[in-house]
Symmetry: D2
Subunit: 350 residues, 4 copies
């Protein structure tokens, strides 16, 4: 933490701050610049944020600058090697690029079985599908609830796919855990700390979507909430951020992929469906995501997008999904990673 004093701050103000800091065991390093005094603050306090806020309130202070982000467990310093989340043999964060696919919402048995079969046949390892849907309008379809989870369990039984589904609140946790192999925390709940703490206490992988206006730091600190409670099986998911952009639903921030790999050991998955909101952009952005190092993809697929109860505009048909799988298999090959895509030989030739 660096404290920049005002040009005309007094010695008394300086002393006051230094005493305050030393009284709580920070070491202080004064440095007299041409016009300003700068105070360097050293110490292994966990709650530097609070101290920063206090000092910003003091007289004579121009500003306070944090030097280091305060994540610990999520950081590469804590764990230099990459984490691999193992779901019964499916490894996220390893050599293979794992693809999760399925409808936005579970709608009925035919739809989910048909989709599950199609995505499995094209190489997906995990079935996505929403039973509880966070919708902007209370008048939009809110999901089938437990009935939807049961249909996903049926699809799992028929196809062997693992299941990822969204958990929206603590009350439903036990029930959702009964069906899901991975819990998804949605973008709107990225800073729902009660929920993060709750999923931190169980033994089940959690995929944490980036809030649509969250910084990388806030995202990692949200993951830190989960890990601090004991659950280290966290997967991050980039799904686009909100900008002034007018032609896509969100702006897919792919630079977060290499950035996260630099800062954190956690695996990162990309959602090109929500990231663009337009199915025609999904495949090019899926290629780009794999090209910059994503550990996985989560993609919306619907047998008849024009009949989908949600997100039809950004859903691939099974055919388009199969094409996407072919293409990313070849991109993964360039990076010496693998995608499981039946019918594509591993060196990228169909």
């Amino acid at each position: 933490m660096i404290i920049v004093m005002k040009t005309h701050s007094s010695q008394q103000q300086l002393d006051h701050i230094v005493n305050k800091l030393e009284s709580v065991d920070f070491k202080v390093h004064l440095s007299q610049g041409v016009h300003r005094t700068i105070i360097g603050v050293i110490g292994e306090k966990k709650d530097k944020e609070t101290m920063k806020m206090k000092i910003e309130a003091m007289d004579g202070v121009e500003k306070v600058i944090s030097i280091l982000d305060s994540y610990k467990l999520t950081g590469r310093d804590f764990k230099p090697e990459k984490s691999v989340i193992n779901i019964d043999g499916i490894k996220i964060g390893g050599e293979e690029v794992i693809v999760m696919a399925g409808p936005c919402s579970v709608e009925n048995e035919e739809q989910i079985i048909k989709t599950a079969t199609a995505v499995r046949d094209a190489g997906a390892k995990i079935l996505r599908g929403g039973a509880y849907k966070p919708r902007t309008s209370p008048y939009s379809f809110q999901g089938l609830g437990e009935k939807g989870l049961k249909l996903m369990a049926l699809a799992k039984q028929k196809t062997g796919l693992k299941i990822i589904t969204e958990l929206m609140n603590v009350e439903d946790m036990e029930m959702v855990c009964h069906y899901a192999d991975i819990l998804q925390i949605g973008a709107r709940n990225m800073q729902n700390y009660s929920l993060l703490k709750a999923v931190g206490k169980i033994n089940k992988p959690v995929m944490l979507k980036r809030g649509f206006a969250s910084t990388i730091k806030e995202w990692l600190l949200a993951a830190e909430y989960i890990m601090k409670e004991g659950n280290h099986q966290v997967i991050l998911c980039e799904r686009g951020i909100r900008t002034f952009g007018e032609k896509t639903r969100n702006t897919l921030d792919l630079s977060s992929v290499p950035l996260i790999h630099k800062l954190s050991h956690l695996p990162i998955v990309v959602d090109p469906s929500h990231g663009t909101g337009k199915w025609k952009l999904v495949t090019p952005m899926a290629r780009a995501a794999v090209a910059c190092g994503a550990d996985g993809l989560i993609v919306e697929v619907h047998p008849q997008p024009e009949d989908a109860l949600s997100d039809g505009q950004q859903s691939l048909t099974p055919n388009n999904f199969q094409n996407m799988m072919y293409e990313i298999t070849k991109i993964a090959d360039v990076l010496e990673r693998k995608v499981y895509c039946p019918g594509v030989v591993s060196n990228g030739i169909i």
Copy 2:
């Protein structure tokens, strides 16, 4: 809803869409432009969003444009006159501009009693104070919990102030309701729909803060979630949005005040403390908020900001708060509204 067809879309594609719409009782209005066919869609369907997504997935469609936002209960069309939320005689949305003030976090008895007394003496009607704190880092102070609520109850007893405090999850609702006169839903939870539905089922005023990257439409739809469940006592709170701005914590979007008044009957309160993140900007922005029509203010006050456990940098001292009250009283006067500020005669002369 307006559907814009592609330049080279076929008659068959057009027919398919029209049939789809008519099959669910929408009326359709074709309009043949110079290069494009435009389809106007008329009907009183609640879930137009879903239909929009479906059509965006259809062949031949260039884009689909929503004509009207889908809020009902929050809109001026539903209730032309302004709503007044009455908390035991304190009326938010009426002639008086109501001021809520207090510390970011409740810390101890002395702090909360001292602050409550000071803000009451300066004219505040409602005491703010956090017992459960949503903090970006899990290592930051998380609030005193129920102990904090009890201290607020004590302050209420001693000062006669009403209490507003944040509710972070459904589990704590009964307990928090026991102490609070108004429940606050924080910015991070604006789209925590489980929480919104829960507070929609009780009989207690709710102040809904705008999410830091939420549009006006999303904010009103979040309020709609609460009202749809039956609780119509909703107060909106503008607290700044996230932008590229580098010198303030958020960008206080004051234009939301007259906009909300135009679109909705709900009262709106402004938080210049979080809106700027710098105590020196709080008073000028409080004046501006009242000048553009805010129904109330919520302001952070701490007896010694430099010792605050959170948000010291944006907290006013009791003295500065008193000055703010003087100034906004005179601004309110210009708008023929009142602020309760002991010692200031209503025509603005001290």
Copy 3:
């Protein structure tokens, strides 16, 4: 400038950086934290930005943090007292809040004379009007050019108002200067450095609009470009920034007003017309601008907004403008500032 070394950086990397800095006469201050070495860099070099970029490229460096912004002439440190720009007796930055008003574009003699007379009668001191219009589409009306300037000169002659008009390029500068009392640099040209340097070399007040996605720092550095060439008569103009907001043309960032007053001695004017894009929001936001300390306003007025060749949707009628003037006069009164508004006695009573 603070350099944060990586956790596992070597002594050699550290030495290399220190040598580099000392070789160009920076003083260096090492501080060994618990996990990291931090290098404080002290020196009165003008081009710290370049040095920062170089060091960020060096091995072993985690990041480099600037301590101080690099503006000099625009800063309060350079000139503690507020600057007043004097245009033949009209003083911007003094006690009076100066109002500039007029149409977006000059269209014809009747329109400009009618508008000029109306805004003068309501208290405006300066006539705004575009002769050269920067329009997003090349197919939109581009302004009357010199013919428009001549019409403004005629209006000046008939009403006594001063003239502000936009300069879009260096080639037109001499001609535009012939007619204008203040040159306006538009938001799109805020970082057109060739233009800034050119207007820095003449003796004519310049109003510099904030770029729609420019930070406060970039804005002040753009002003610095003008002042560095010798022209110190710079007025800043906040006109709204681009955000995700969907219901206003821009988000009017009023907190920039007290911020600029804190950082700089330059006067600041607010444009609530472009800042909102909706005429119904102009008056409330004009009140708010004056309430938080604006030194002036620039407002679009058109005798018949529905016939305007540009910006009709955000233009006030002369009647609405007069009402606005009444209201801001009374707000200014609260701040012990004045607005010239014929018919309003200075203590705010009509």
Copy 4:
């Protein structure tokens, strides 16, 4: 254009609008919704934007919605097949992915010759280098001016590379054209319409960088300014947009690549150096750019980034650049496009 009337608008207001529209030869299509009247407006007017603004100013109007963007020459409707810009045999927009590389600023002969030789040997076809530099601070290095251009000419002579360099104003155009094979219009000048019109009148390819807060529509309309004057040799360049992101210089919006390909026939190049601001992110994002369909890349390379006079932190060394070329060659191969990379056989095996 669609006009949405207010709920309680009158027949008189409706008639007034309809008459206005019909008086300027628009066709009007009334559609009576459940609560509102909607007016569809049809006509091949070029200046619909102005008409939109006028109508927004009329009584009884809730809002006006544009149906179609107003670009013509840049659109796929105007020219369905992709444009290829041919610079003496180097074709941008064709099968080959063209790489432009070089230093941010030209600094001296040794630097530019060394860099040019290295990038040519690794496969670049065009040398980038700034002689006139738009810098945020007037105290930063502003470029060598014509001396820099002469050094680039020397490098061209020695290496055979074509030259791209930035043009900042109309006055320098003739001189810069004398040296450059492609003129670059920088992000800050994307809406400098005087400059766009000037380069529209010459016969020289122009690369138009996206403004850092410009929408896709504004960007294409800026290109439209150039094309409307007669110069159809326009190359677009995505270089990142401004968001709240805190860890990268900009947010590289790669979805603009497939979007531009859908909307426009113009080729699009990606700048991962400015797009990220960190050299470690350049290669992954270069791979992603090629993977989603970019027609070219522009990359900063410096023999000793730590000595660069600008942008050292985001410059690749010649070695890193060579690695980048290897990797994108293989990605291009997957898309059945080519990159010229000596030493890499076209099927992607080194």
